[in-house]
Structure formats: C-alpha cells, structure tokens
Amino acid sequence: MAEDRPTPEQEARRLYEEAESRVAKAAERVVSRDSFGELLAMATENVVAVTRMSFDALDLVWSNLRLAGRRDITRLGRQLGRTEDKLEQVLQEVERLRDQVESSSDNGAKPAAGAKPAAARRRSQRSSSP
C-alpha cells in the first residue's frame, strides 16, 4: 500500500524526534548522577562567592558615597515588616475582644431592626483597609 508509506519528510521527522527523545533521556540520566550533583554544588558555591564579593564591593562604594544602599533599604523594609506584624496582632486581638463584647451583648439584647450583622460590618471595614 503505497499510500500508507510515510513520505521522506515524515520519515525524517520521525527519526529526528526519536533522536531528540534519546538525547533528552540521556540528559536526564546525566543530571540525575551523583557527580552532576557535586558539580552543581560546587558551581553554586562559586556563583554565591562571586555574588557576595560583588555585593560587598558595591555596598562599600555606595556607603563611601554617603548614599543609602541596598542594606539600608532592606533594614528599613524589615522594620516596616516587624511593625506590620505587631499591627496585625493588635488588630486580631481587637477583633477577638470585639467579638467577645458583641456576643455577650447579643445574649442580653436583640439587635436593632435593619442593623447590619456584626461580621458583615467588620468585613466591609477590613476589606477597604488595604
């Protein structure tokens, strides 16, 4: 059946894909070897060492120019982060206490007609904050 016979182009593509698949499998075998892991660890160490040297040199130049550098900005960022952590803790504590107060007052008196539920009120307040 001549029609079923692949064209030279199809045959070339099939051969290419076969070869590519074999190369892919071989590459995966290479990267999964212990020796490749060792090589990668050493390369990482070298890159990290060069990066550290570049960062240190740049920081030195920058600080001698009396300009705020990467470290100063990072330090400020961390301070802001810590402040935000504390604010979040305070906010959660306030909400917890408010829940307590509301639940105890709910036990004593019925809510006014048409009043928004407490949870919904809090939700709308908080979603507008960011």
Binding site: A24, A41, V48, R78, R123
Partner: protein
C-alpha cells in the same frame, strides 16, 4: 501539505513563531475577577466574585513559594478557579506575593503558623462559615499539611494535596541539594531572597532538553503545521517565566528540613516548639498525584496516606506532570471533575 507548500509557508511560520515568543509577556493570565479580603506583609487573601454559591464550605487555595498562584486561574476556559466557581464553590486564594530581601527573615513557620491560620480566619469572617476546605499545591500542599498537623483543632474540614512533596528520599532534588557540599546557609545568607530565576533554572535543569529545546521545537512544528494554539502556549510560558524570590530563611528551612533531614516523614518537623504530627491530621483528605511528576514524585507523596489519622482518605492518581496534571489540556476532563465531585460530597452545611 507538500514539500513545496511547506517551503512557501516557512517564512510566514517563522514570523508567527517569533510573534508568539515575543508577545508572550503581553498575554493576560489570572483574569477571573476577585476582591482583596485581607493583606499582611507580602501575603494577600483574595475572594473570587461569584453569583452562584451552592456549597457553603469555602475553598482556600494555597500555592507554592516558587512561581505565582496564577496557575490556579491560568486563562479563561482553562482555569481551575473558574471551574470551581461554575460548580458553585466560594473560592479564596492565599497569594504569597513577591518577597524581597526585606522578607529574608520569613521562615516556613511564618507561612504555616501565621499566614495560613490568619487566612482561614479571614475566610471564615468573610464567608460566615466556620469550616473551610484547604487545597494546597506542591509546597503549598506541604504547608497546608503542616498547618493541619500542628493545629488539630483548626477550622479545616477537607484537606486536598496536589502533587505535594512529603518524603524526599531518592528524589532528584535530594540528589542535588541534600549533599553536604551544597551549602544552603551560604546561599540564603548571600541572597537574602533567593532569586526566583535560580529556582526556575534548577527546575528546568531536571529535564534540560525537554524544557530548553523540545517545548519550543514542538511549538515551531505546530506553527508550521498550522495547528498552534498561541493563547495556550503563551499563558503557560508567561506563568513559567514569572518567578518570585524565595525568602532566604524559608529556603534554608525547606532545603534543610525537607531534603537534607527529611523531617516531615520522619516525624521530626517542629515549629514554634511544637511537633508537626502528621498522625494528628483528622481532616477528610484527598491526595492527588501525577504519574510523571519529576518534581514531587508520586512515591514521595504516598507515605502521607498511611501516616495521617484521617478516617476519610482518597487517593487520585493520574498520568501527567507536576503542573500539567492540573493545568494541562486534559485536566478539565480528567482531574478537576473528580476533585469537584470529592469536594461536593464533603462540602454541605
């Protein structure tokens, strides 16, 4: 198409191919409308807008610390979020954001002991429901499991783990980073926030020919044959290329605790003085594994099935890769309906 036609088409195909690659970044991903519910540091809790919430128990999605959670909502027509919304779920997403050097001090406990509990708390406040489903993917799954293990009384009814690393013994990552010569402390110290591109490079290096060559060669072939689907290729390529940095402390802990010491499966994981006891996990559990997952191999996830204390444990195994399983072209038919069905049976009031 005969050889002559193909030759004539080659310049046009080359233009189209270049256009797909060059306009990759312009493609829109994660477009399902959502609202900000809560923010803290780099973390944001979103709630997706929905008009038909059939199931009362909301679903909280948690993604890994590498790549962005946009993969949950890749593109219209191929979005897990869109699918869940259509099925009637109230969907929330905990997005870790883009940390930088200022966030180098954020460790795994920040995510497990602070952000997930706070996220769940806000989900409960926003939805008015006491319980939620926690659905974690990859590292997000491990963080979710750790949360449930550390806080047995947590408001999580259902726990879904997608391609989650639990036991890292024998994995390719372990071959690379578990060795003594890989100095994770130095990497974390120098970078503060480990560049996302480095992590991405390591991920791609696991299958170098496939990731660096075959993907583009296949695209070229599809363009030449007139069968390319640019929107699908570009959405995935854009997501793959978006790599936020990994906070230094979290990176150090992830590599040391999970790969060098394999603490989770050995029952040695401790956070804030408490042991993460996986046997304390009582939630209804669905574990989804992918047969061809080279990042979190199936064998490395299965131990969780025997370790948890849950009475209701389901394992769903499907062919596919780490990401392709949930975001590939077959996911909508072969995986998502099973997850939705499992959730549906456990999400009533």
């Amino acid at each position: 198409m005969n050889a002559l036609e193909r030759m004539a088409r080659t310049p046009i195909a080359a233009l189209e191919f270049a256009n797909i690659l060059l306009t990759e970044r312009d493609t829109q991903i994660a477009v399902t409308p959502k609202d900000v519910v809560w923010t803290h540091r780099t973390t944001t809790l979103y709630r997706y807008r929905s008009t038909q919430r059939t199931y009362p128990v909301p679903v909280l999605l948690v993604f890994a610390l590498i790549n962005r959670p946009d993969i949950f909502d890749l593109r219209p027509g191929n979005s897990f979020v869109e699918f869940l919304l259509d099925e009637g779920y109230d969907v929330f997403l905990l997005d870790w954001g883009v940390p930088d050097e200022a966030d180098a001090d954020l460790g795994l406990e920040h995510y497990v002991c602070d952000e997930i509990p706070s996220g769940l708390r806000e989900v409960s406040r926003a939805s008015g429901q006491e319980e939620a489903t926690l659905l974690g993917w990859c590292i997000g799954g491990t963080l979710s499991l750790l949360h449930c293990a550390l806080e047995p009384g947590t408001a999580v009814r259902n726990l879904v783990l997608l391609t989650t690393p639990i036991d890292t013994t024998g994995s390719l990552y372990a071959t690379w980073v578990a060795r003594d010569s890989f100095d994770v402390d130095r990497v974390a110290d120098v970078y503060g926030a480990v560049p996302g591109g480095t992590v991405d490079w390591a991920n791609k290096l696991m299958k170098p020919v496939t990731n660096y060559w075959t993907t583009r060669r296949r695209l070229w072939q599809q363009v030449l044959d007139g069968e390319a689907r640019p929107e699908a290729y570009q959405a995935m390529a854009k997501w793959v290329a978006d790599n936020p940095p990994f906070p230094g402390r979290a990176y150090r802990e992830w590599i040391t605790w999970m790969y060098k010491e394999n603490r989770l499966v050995r029952g040695l994981m401790r956070m804030r003085g408490r042991r993460a006891d996986v046997s304390a996990v009582q939630q209804n559990l669905l574990v989804v594994t992918a047969g061809a997952d080279h990042i979190a191999p199936r064998e490395g996830t299965l131990p969780v099935l025997d370790q948890v204390g849950s009475a209701d444990v389901t394992h769903l195994d499907r062919p596919g890769g780490h990401i392709g399983l949930m975001a590939g072209s077959k996911a909508r038919k072969d995986v998502w309906p099973h997850i939705a069905e499992w959730l549906g049976e456990r999400s009533d009031a």
